[in-house]
Amino acid sequence: MRPKSQLVLPDGTRRTPSAVPEFLAELKKNSSVSGYHFIPARDPQLVDLPSSLAPSLRSVLAQRGIEQLYSHQAEAFTLAEAGRNVTVVTPTASGKTLCYNLPVLQRIAMNPDARALYLYPTKALTYDQLEDLMAWANALEQDFGVYSYDGDTPQDARAAVRAKGHIVLTNPDMLHKGILPHHTKWARLFENLSYIVVDELHTYRGIFGSHVANVFRRLARVCEFYGSTPQFICTSATVANPKELAEHLSGRPFELVAESGAGSAEKHVFFYNPPVVNRQLGIRRSYVHEAKQIASAFLKRNIPAIVFANSRLITEILVRYLKAAIETGPAPQETVVGYRGGYLPNERRQIERGLRDGRIRGVVSTNALELGIDIGSLDVAVLAGYPGTIASTWQRIGRAGRRSGMSVAVMVASSAPLDQYIVNHPEYFLNQPPERGLVNPDNIHILISHLQCATFELPFGVDETFGGHTVGEILEFLAERGFIHRAGNKWHWTNEAYPADSVSLRSISSDNFVVVEMNAGEKGGAEANRIIGEVDYTSAFTTLHEKAIYLHQGLQYYVHQLDIKERRAYVKAVNSDYYTDAITYTKVKTLDTTETSAEHNHGEVHVAHQVVGFKKIKFFTMENVGSGDLNLPVQEMHTTAYWLTIPRPQFESLPFASIDRLNGLHGLAYALAQLAAVFLMCDRKDLGAAVEFGLENPTFHPTLYIYDNFPGGIGLSRPLYEIREQVLTAVEELIRSCGCEDGCPSCVGPTLRAKEVALAILDTLKHA
């Protein structure tokens, strides 16, 4: 098979990156480089086209110059043809699309009634794949319809999609809200559904994955009603447990294809830690600045580069910096563009094309370009900040990956603990299998939501199971609340509401606060209010309470009013020399211990969280220059947790003042939560951390809780309990190797002595 990039481009449209080797030598000498890793080139493993492949598909492949397949593509084809559910896990740009397109097109060639449903996590990905499939449709003589179906599909086009679409490309949200609740309109599709393709499987984890697993349970019911049993083909970026994740999501057994047959060029990976400029406070030079320096050095030498930023804001800042650095030079045609969610689809398509044909030299992107959008391959990837997970990091590094020559990736660390841990332990990053994709489809809140949707879609039999579970008790619960009603041996939906409308797949509750800047007109004129941002419900109380200094896009705003009922915060731009730090009070109570081993436990907890006040802290000096009380509502939930108890006698015998011991345990919780997020492949905000000392209770042992920060839990704390030793070892290394003296945001947080005490507590545990 010819490489994809050459299919799109005529050969020779790109210059050979002759400047790369010279630049590599420079980087290797740089004292800020803390790690370097070389990945040798790989030859492609090619095999003959499967003998059963339909002649029509053969000839289209031939037109595309494809005479052989990569070994993983052929393996996936054979397994799918044998009726198996298949998960393919291979690196970026290894021709994954063909792993599902070939079996699906083969099935349609054999049976023109056959249908397939393709699911992509985002709309942008759908369009990219749609173009490719359209090309297949045009090349094949068979009458064959490919359509995307999402919120943007015009009403009058929808009937055609339902009737004529052999392949329908959509996203899980649309399946959940638009297709399943109207399945009778899709009878043709469901009766003949042969394949369900799930691309970017690794994105279906945490809350989103737990919801989607339930959407698949509903999909299975609907398919059963129409008498079809579709096969699944999933493709994924590297995760540690692709087979398990696919099986948890779909409830079916899977075969795994993990050996990539695609070739790759040699690759040089650098870990870069910006130099420390203030040792006492552990302040390093801005990673954004450093990333810009590195990227512009490549771009100035005419080497195409992609820069990944972790937020939209940083993306925009980097675009501005890089444009200023590059485009003033003698070669103004060298363009740098930004790419992120929020750009219009057309704008995005233009950028993608520009990247493929080399007109655009540099792109700064959020994770939007991390997934399988075809942008050809660039020579260099610069990661401004650690992306948060090993899998995501490899995806981004993979974007620099031409199939010949060489490519370079540079990970520039920020001062966040995750970044500091990774940049100081590149061997951890390199040796570690990527994270596990975790889901908890049986979270009671999620399950209840989807049982409502399921009953709406098809009456629920009294003996019917859902995801293999007997759910009679939950149905009784819904009946008590008037949502459903039993007639004969079936439960029916008895509510005026359309249940899918109130269930967002992306969160347990879709509750956000908007930040409104008052009188945002030019030059302080009394112009209309302007919305400057959104903050989720839980963070709103800590960042948007009255009198808080809210930081947004590097600017400071003073919060005048937090309107909890209307979910609005009214702010005014200010220039203050302090910032605010909310004082939160979290009370965790153990409800039930399910597993326990020495000091380590896993089980259920009750969490009550309240923001009770705030401190004003002066920039640079970190002096506490004031404080205030707040009266905000208590947030309560029941969730699952991992907790660590420190036997009271040992804790009290630590040679520190009582206040230092408390600070030390808090610091340990801070570091543990950060690193647990790395190991569990979740967002830091998905985990909560709290400590209980039980000062008034002499029989209570001080306890450190790390809990799933979602009502009902999303399956993070149990795996954390299992890998606790690994995480605690990493925490110890993080704290030891941190360059600060007393504790800084990169390790235990900025608290005096916390570092020393935290290490002493860890030491106690080892000898306990």
């Binding site: 009778t184 709406f456 009456p459 759910v471 009603h485 079936k490 009902g712």
Partner: protein
Amino acid sequence: MPDFSKALRQLRPKESPQRQLFHAENPVSSLGSQLAYLKMHSPRHVEDVAAIQGTEETTPLGRHLVVRNTYDSHHYHGNVRLARFSCADLQRFMSVMKSRGNAVSRDSLVFLDTETTGIHGGTGMVPFLVGLGYFEGDDFHMVQYFMRDFDEEPSMLLAIEDLLQRFKMVVTYNGSSFDVPLLETRFTLARLNCPLEEMAHLDLLTGARRLWRQGHGSCRLAALESKIVSFLRGHDIPGGMIPQAYFEFLQGRGSSVMDAVLKHNVHDVLSLAALTICACDRVVREPAALDSPLDLYSLARIMENTSEWKTAIDLYEMALGGELTEAIFLKARENLAVLSRRAGNHSRAVGLCEELMSESTFSMIGHEGAAIHYERVAGDGVHALEIVERALSRLGEGDGTQRWRTSLAARRERLRQKVMQF
């Protein structure tokens, strides 16, 4: 296996609601709380004693309830005698409205309306009551199929399928986006054939909007039945309360409310039939000068798109004889000017154009029509050119003027050439 019982216990509030209603610090404060208290303490099921009128019928798929009523040849619904329904009139109405389908005979028509458990659509929305009305001779029969619980739906659908066999066309109000797809979904779910798929369908809402929206605003059936049919319902359950009424009925409460729902549905079907007659009247009967000018205008607009466009001229003339709003007054004269020119009545056409040009609102059609008249009919190119110049100078910078500007500029260019030649 996860322990759902335990998880559910966490979700159940600690119960004892009755006791908490009247706290010392919360004396009988609002009417709402008093009502809540009374509801909680009044014995339930009292109003249930009376069962719904109707007969239970049996099909191979089970049982359901049927309520039948007949309205004889003298029955008036509002001011409309149902028996005067004419199939020929309907045929003419449909051809004027360019509706598909063929009204074969009065007996092959069925009027349909459903009452449902919601309005949001989707497979979880159920028509628990389906009302069908049809003629047999001069009698109008009303049959209502009612499912007393969800397990009666298949039987109800089978009975409906059976009855619908004898009809060729269904008439609904907003059925193309609501009742028909809904019933198709129900038949699919029950694995039955939907007879509606083979029938012609007339959705009266479309025609009603064209006939009456200008003159009467809202075209909801309830609005038109009082304005056009002069039928007054008296006490009626509001449509929005119907789903909840059914859910309460399912809980064993409120069969009297269900009677109100059945009555509501009867009225909907009778009004639909009566309104169909009124709609046919509009296109069949001679328009009267006393008709609302806005209705005349609406009818004119319908007629000008048919082969009988000359009728539209008379209708516009009649409409202009009455009071019209400013925008409609302008639009009516514009349309009439174009039609008059097409009919060869040049003096009327140019007269209207001159009038339109003197209006403070710019009329493209007025200017264009006058220019065409002076150029082609009067042979006065110079005057035509003047009119075009005037039009161009009056044209503002608004949206949509660009097309006019281009077209006027082209006309000016052509006229200049022509005038120069002389």
